[in-house]
Amino acid sequence: MEITLDSLVFGRYGPAVLNATILYTWLVMALLTLVSWFVTRRLSSGPKISRAQNLLEVLVSGMRNQIQQISQEAPDRYLPFIGTLYLFIAAANLLAFVPGYHPPTDSLSTTAALAGCVFLAVPLYGIAQRGLGGFLGHYFKPSVFMFPFHIISEISRTLALAVRLFGNVMSGVLLGGILLSIAPLFFPILLQALELLIGQIQAFIFAVLATLYIASASQAHEEGRQRILAGSEEETKPNQQEGMNP
C-alpha cells in the first residue's frame, strides 16, 4: 500500500520528477484557475449577478470577514495568501470523492511546502509591516533569553501545521483503504463522507492558524498602543485567539 503519493512517479527529467503529488496539485490549480477565470471574465457590478459570481463573492467576502475577525486588521493584505491556502486545501480535499483522485494534501511534501510558505510568510509580512528591526525585536521580548524559545516555537508550530494536515488527510485515506478491505459495503461511504467534512475543517484550521501566526507577528508592535487606546478590546482578543487555537 502506498503511503505517499510522491513515490508514484510518472516521469523523470534529471533531478526533476513528475509524481502524482505534483500532477494532482496541477489538476487542482487548473480547476481553481479555470473556474475563477470562467466566472470572473464577465462580472457584473450591477444589482443582477450570475449565480456563479454570487457564489464566488460569498466565498471571497466570507474569507475576508474571517480574516478580519481573526486578525482585527484590514483583510485585503492577507487575502491572496490565506485565501489561496484555504481554497487549495479545501478544493484538494473536496475532490477526494472523485474516483481515482488522490488529494495532494495526502503527501507530507505538500503540507510541508504549505507550512513552509506560512513559515516564510510570517517574517515577510512582519518585516513588511514593522520593519526588520521591529520584527526581530519581537524575538527578544520580554527578555533576550526568550529568543531560543521563540525560534523553537516557530519551527514546532510549522511542523505541527504540516503534520496535522498530512496526518488528518492521510489517516482518512488510509482508514478508507483499510475499511474497504474489511467491510466493502456501506462503511467506506460513511467514512468518506466524514473524511470530506474533516478535509474542509482541516482547510479552515490551516487557514485560521496561518492567519493567526502572520497577524500576531505583524500586530505585535501595535499591542502596546492598542492597550492604551482600547483596553477592553485587547482583553477579549487573546481569549479569542486561545479559543480558536486547537
Binding site: 503529488t21 462580472l43 457584473s44 459570481q53 491572496p80 485565501g83 487549495f88 495532494p104
Partner: protein
C-alpha cells in the same frame, strides 16, 4: 522517506503560482466588482437620501403652501360670509323700506279711496236726503223744499251778525255791486226778486246780481260779493253726518287691526 524535497520545492512554487493566478483571476476582479457595487449602492443611497431630503423639503413647502391656501380660503370665506351678511341686512333693509313705501302708498290709496267713498256717499246722501226732505215737505206740509230753503236763507240774512253784515257790505261795495248768487237748483223768478230785495236791504245799495245754478251747492244757496261769501245749504247738516261716519269707520278699522 515521507518528504521528497524536490516535491516540496515544486509545491512551494506551485502554491506561489496559484496565489498569483487566483489573485489575477479571482480576488482582484471579485473585489473590484464588489467595490464597484458598493460604490454604486452608496451613490444610489446618497442620491436617494438627497431625493428624500428634497422630497421632505418639498413636502414641507407644499404643506406650508396648502396651509397658507387654507388660511386664505378661510379668510375669504369669512369675508364672503361677512359681505353676504351685510348684503342680506342691506337687502332686508331695502325690502323693509319698500314694504314701508308700499304700505304708505297703500295706506294713502286706501285713504284716497275712503275719501272718494265719503264724497260719493255724501253726494248720494245729499241726493237722497234732498229727495226725502222734498217729498216729506211736500207730503206733510205741502211745502216746496227749495222754497223753504230760500225762506230759511232769507231769515238768516236778516238775522246776520253785524260784523258779518258789515263785511258783506264792504265787499259788495268793492265789487261795484256785482254779486254772484249760486243755487243747487233753478231758482224761480219770484224767488230771485225776493233774494235781490233782501240783499239790497242788507247792503243798502243797488246790486247787480247774477244767478247761476251749480249742483255742487247741494240744496242750498251761496252769495258771493268780492271776497265775501254768505252761504247756507243742506251740506252744512251733511258735513256733521260725514264726520260721524268717518269716525265710525276709523273705529271699525282700529278694531280690525287690533
Amino acid at each position: 522517506m515521507l518528504v521528497d524535497w524536490f516535491t516540496v520545492a515544486a509545491q512551494v512554487v506551485n502554491f506561489l503560482i496559484l496565489v498569483a493566478l487566483l489573485k489575477r483571476f479571482l480576488y482582484r476582479p471579485i473585489l473590484e466588482a464588489m467595490d464597484a457595487r458598493e460604490a454604486r449602492i452608496a451613490a444610489q443611497l446618497a442620491e436617494t437620501e438627497k431625493n428624500r431630503k428634497a422630497a421632505a423639503a418639498e413636502q414641507t413647502e407644499v404643506h406650508q403652501e396648502r396651509q397658507a391656501l387654507e388660511d386664505r380660503r378661510q379668510e375669504l370665506l369669512a369675508q364672503a360670509e361677512k359681505e353676504a351678511e351685510a348684503h342680506k341686512q342691506d337687502l332686508i333693509g331695502k325690502l323693509r323700506q319698500e314694504i314701508e313705501e308700499l304700505r304708505a302708498r297703500w295706506t294713502a290709496a286706501l285713504a284716497r279711496e275712503r275719501d272718494l267713498f265719503f264724497q260719493d256717499l255724501r253726494r248720494r246722501l245729499i241726493a237722497q236726503v234732498t229727495a226725502v226732505s222734498r217729498r216729506a215737505f211736500r207730503d206733510l206740509a205741502g211745502l216746496d223744499l227749495e222754497q223753504r230753503l230760500l225762506e230759511v236763507f232769507l231769515q238768516r240774512l236778516k238775522s246776520l251778525e253785524p260784523a258779518a253784515r258789515t263785511e258783506f257790505v264792504e265787499a259788495a261795495k268793492e265789487a261795484g255791486g256785482n254779486v254772484f248768487i249760486t243755487t243747487g237748483f233753478e231758482m224761480p223768478a219770484a224767488m230771485q226778486t225776493r233774494i235781490i230785495q233782501a240783499l239790497q236791504e242788507l247792503s243798502g245799495q243797488t246790486l247787480a246780481p247774477r244767478f247761476e245754478s251749480n249742483p255742487e251747492v247741494v240744496s242750498g244757496i251761496e252769495v258771493k260779493a268780492g271776497g265775501c261769501k254768505i252761504a247756507w245749504s243742506l251740506d252744512n247738516f251733511l258735513q256733521g253726518l260725514e264726520e260721524a261716519l268717518a269716525a265710525a269707520f276709523a273705529e271699525s278699522d282700529g278694531r280690525k287691526l287690533a
